[in-house]
Amino acid sequence: MKLTLRVWRQQNADADGAMSTYEVDGISPDMSFLEMLDTLNEELILKGEDPVAFDHDCREGICGACSLVINGDAHGPERTTTCQLHMRSFKDGDTIDIEPWRAAAFPVIKDLVVDRSAFDRIIQAGGYITAPTGSAPEAHATPVPKPDADFAFEHAECIGCGACVAACPNGSAMLFTSAKVNHLNVLPQGAPERESRVLDMVAQMDEEGFGGCTLTGECATACPKGIPLMSITGMNKEWLRATRKAAKR
């Protein structure tokens, strides 16, 4: 396959960026999208040019590092992570636009690499259960009904890639935040911090400069792990419940 790539190039956070055009040839449909970019980078290095910087690590769809907007879609045309997207999803002769996640809370570091530390700070605000090592009761002391365990798991699957923010026209982090709130709040172990967790995480999310939710559903469509849009509804419910309870105290 022969392809034309238009790639966002930006030297560093403060520099202006622009799309640059590259041609790549000899691309196999079995290659992953990132392997296609590896091919381009090998050529660029040998030509003495700066290779395209992009985040990637596990290349098996679980670490959440890879983060490319391909032809306007976060992670490209298939519902998966960029690293699990294969070139068979494209046609010979295609022109492909590759851009970084774009959101005020995710500033560009270089080319296609963005700073997602805002997500870490949202988790730090309350996305945990306080259970210092050594303090745990016997695991079977508290049975968890299977539907609740499955619900928790479904939300815990979030890989924190940020595709939801990249896809949202408002740059909102509601889906990311709600996934963690739902995961922990449904479990009996998460109950003692149920209210403070959702209030603090939402406050931090706002603090980081993410937009609000207008329920366009773009986040859930882009999510490679299929976190449902209803996750946001669940968090709203938790938030209102917590606000009411806090007012009573």
Binding site: S28, E42, A53, D55, G64, Y128, F153, A156
Partner: protein, 649 residues
């Protein structure tokens, strides 16, 4: 000049920390004997933790909970992305919830036997004891393990054992456990007890007066090289499987932290013990950048086979039942498809070498779910393995519900690592190594679902108990600053190395060298090793190294985000580590676990150990790049599990 292979044998190395006495009392005894640091004094101690995987994440969180000031590093943009996240199948624990005859002693026994009698009994027993607490801890943190309808935890079976002791969260157990540790760590970061440095890579270790006192690290965004000081340094930087270029490791997983520590005096133990995982998706071409694992749990229900006839190119569906060879079930009737990883991998290699492999290039065997789908129904198979099937389909464009999966072995885990004593301390006082970075618990082969167990055991329970002893015995260390001559020297060496990489301006990319050394290692130090092959590799590696420093091309500068520079610098260390791996493999002329020397096999082609000669851990001391290292042997004593020829038949 003597050649690298002419190693010398030095003083034996002994584990001075493991208590004697009944094995089930040793850990309690050690914990009681270990000195404690007064809670009020802990804040005054700084501990550096490198890495945020299961071991590092859990250690950082726990040390901070105990009151220490933790300074932690990861090269990823977030501690949540460490490669532990990719572990799929599960975590072992001797809970015996199934009442199927499991016990701490059985887990201990299975692990020692699975490791082909090349692990320390004391360590393994401790691991089995702690396994029980790990599950409790993770459940308390909200890890969403799979549950039964009654609300209790579900378990499944894994290779090399005959009980169901593996706890799991669908095919994403590593992810869920890591997020648990990450969340605990996040809580400590928010509390100000952990100073987290993401996108910062350790490039060297600072050893002052014989003690580990800090590290040199590079901020990957700005390129700034900085020094960090502490009272103790913990390496939780993972394994070195990426020496092979193609492995199931993450692209950026690397050996720099452990190798630099080794260069500064930490012994490196059993470097040749590499685990080749039997169930990975076969490679499709030269463009391949990494290999993807298919969880071992698939072997619970999938049946492995190849055609009986050589060169049979018919599609799987057209090969009738009586022309299929379910070779694992045939050769190992009692364990069947659930034999340990080293055995399953070697069997796959053997049938492919016989010309009975399937798929492009004949480098693959079938993992077939047709019977499971018939027995349990498609829905049940989907519920158990759905995400793995999806992943397979995405990568290969084949539907595993319709046609059997094709799998082939790939480098997955390294049992070797920095030598540590019972306290997980390396030969450099104050330097600890935990998780895959150390060598301690798996011997020559790791059982499935034991890596997660070991990482969390080390991080949550072992290290936090043992590091106290070191800090209590060294309460007032002289404070150091960047002006210290040793620090200046390490800093200068690091800067020189990076500058040299940038200044060669040759004509080959970092990846091309990585690929070359990786292919060499796979060929000569992979699934089957020979004296002549290893000697060939030992001859070739210094040549590649020499060529590397002549022809490497790294664009850009050191004062910016430069992924090529990061890569090139990691390859520098692979080019030295590879040499040590080959030497270790050459010197160990027995077969054991994942280390298979063709010269040492039973008549049936199984690994033949030579206990009288090799019942030791090989701890290597660095003497200089390309210079013959010194071997220190740690004799392994087996009081509870008596070495026998492993039999899974």
């Amino acid at each position: 000049m003597t050649s690298y292979a002419d190693y010398t044998t030095g003083e034996p190395v002994t584990d001075t920390k493991a208590p004697t006495g009944p094995i089930n009392e040793r850990w309690d005894k050690r914990r009681f004997e270990a000195k404690l640091v007064n809670p009020a004094n802990r804040r005054k101690h700084t501990v550096i933790v490198v890495g945020t995987g299961l071991a590092g994440g859990s250690a950082g969180a726990t040390l901070a909970e105990q009151g220490y000031h933790v300074v932690q590093f990861c090269y990823q943009d977030s501690p949540r992305r460490a490669h532990s996240i990719a572990a799929q199948g599960g975590i072992n624990a001797a809970k015996n919830y199934r009442n199927d005859g499991d016990s701490i002693h059985r887990l201990f026994y299975d692990t020692v036997k699975g490791g082909d009698f090349r692990a320390r009994e004391s360590n393994v027993h401790r691991l089995a004891q702690i396994s029980v607490e790990i599950i409790d801890q993770c459940v308390a943190q909200g890890v969403p393990f799979a549950r039964e309808y009654g609300g209790l935890l579900d378990t499944r079976s894994f290779g090399g054992v005959q009980v169901s002791r593996t706890f799991y969260a669908r095919g994403q157990t590593g992810q869920q456990l890591l997020l648990g540790a990450y969340q605990a760590l996040s809580r400590q970061i928010a509390a100000g007890n952990v100073e987290m440095h993401p996108r910062t890579e350790m490039l060297d270790l600072i050893v002052v007066d014989g003690r580990a006192r800090g590290i040199v690290a590079r901020d990957l965004i700005t390129g700034k090289i900085d020094t960090y000081f502490a009272d103790a340094v913990v390496l939780a930087s993972g394994g070195y499987g990426n020496v092979f270029y193609l492995s199931t490791n993450a692209m950026n997983s690397n050996a720099t932290a452990v190798w630099r520590a080794h260069r500064r005096g930490a012994y490196f133990a059993n470097p040749c013990f590499t685990q080749i995982h039997p169930t990975c998706i076969p490679r499709t071409g030269d463009h391949q950048s990494k290999l993807t694992l298919m969880s071992e749990s698939l072997r619970n229900d999938g049946r492995i086979w190849v055609p009986k006839a050589k060169g049979d190119t018919r599609p799987a569906s057209q090969i009738p039942e009586n022309e299929r060879d379910y070779y694992l079930e045939r050769i190992y009737p009692s364990f069947g498809n659930l034999v340990p990883r080293d055995i399953a991998s070697r069997a796959a290699k053997n049938v492919c070498d016989e010309g009975r492999g399937v798929g492009p290039g004949g480098q693959g065997v079938y993992l077939d779910f047709a019977d499971a789908i018939k027995r349990m129904g498609r829905g049940a198979v989907e519920a158990k393995y759905g995400n793995l099937f999806d992943m397979y389909q995405r990568i290969t464009d084949e539907d595993p519900y319709q046609v059997p999966m094709r799998i082939y072995p790939a480098v997955h885990y390294t049992m070797g690592g920095l030598w540590v004593d019972y306290d997980l301390q390396t030969t450099i006082p104050g330097l600890f190594a935990i998780g895959e970075a150390n060598f301690s618990d798996h011997g020559a082969n790791r059982l499935g679902a034991s890596a997660l167990m070991q990482g969390l055991a080390d991080g949550y329970f072992v290290l936090p108990a043992t590091i106290n002893d070191y800090l209590a015995r060294n309460p007032h260390q002289e404070s150091i600053t960047v002006e210290h001559p040793v620090v200046q020297e390490v800093l200068a060496e690091t800067e020189d190395r990076l500058n040299l990489l940038l200044s060669v301006d040759g004509d080959r990319t970092p990846d091309s060298f990585h690929r070359e050394v990786g292919e060499l290692m796979w060929e000569f130090c992979g699934m089957a090793r020979t004296d002549s092959g290893l000697r060939k590799a030992l001859e070739r590696i210094p040549q590649i190294r020499e060529e590397f420093w002549r022809r490497i091309k790294v664009p850009g500068s050191g004062e910016e985000f430069n992924q090529s520079l990061e890569k090139a610098n990691r390859i520098v260390d692979y080019l030295e580590l590879a040499e040590l791996m080959c030497l270790d493999a050459l010197h160990r002329s027995e077969s054991c676990g994942g280390h298979f020397r063709e010269e040492s096999q039973t008549p049936d082609g199984e690994a033949a150990r030579k206990d009288e000669e090799f019942s030791y851990a090989a701890a290597w001391e660095f003497t200089g790049t390309g210079e013959a290292p010194v071997l220190h042997k740690e004799d392994l004593v087996f009081e509870y599990v008596h070495p026998t020829q492993r039999s899974y038949a």
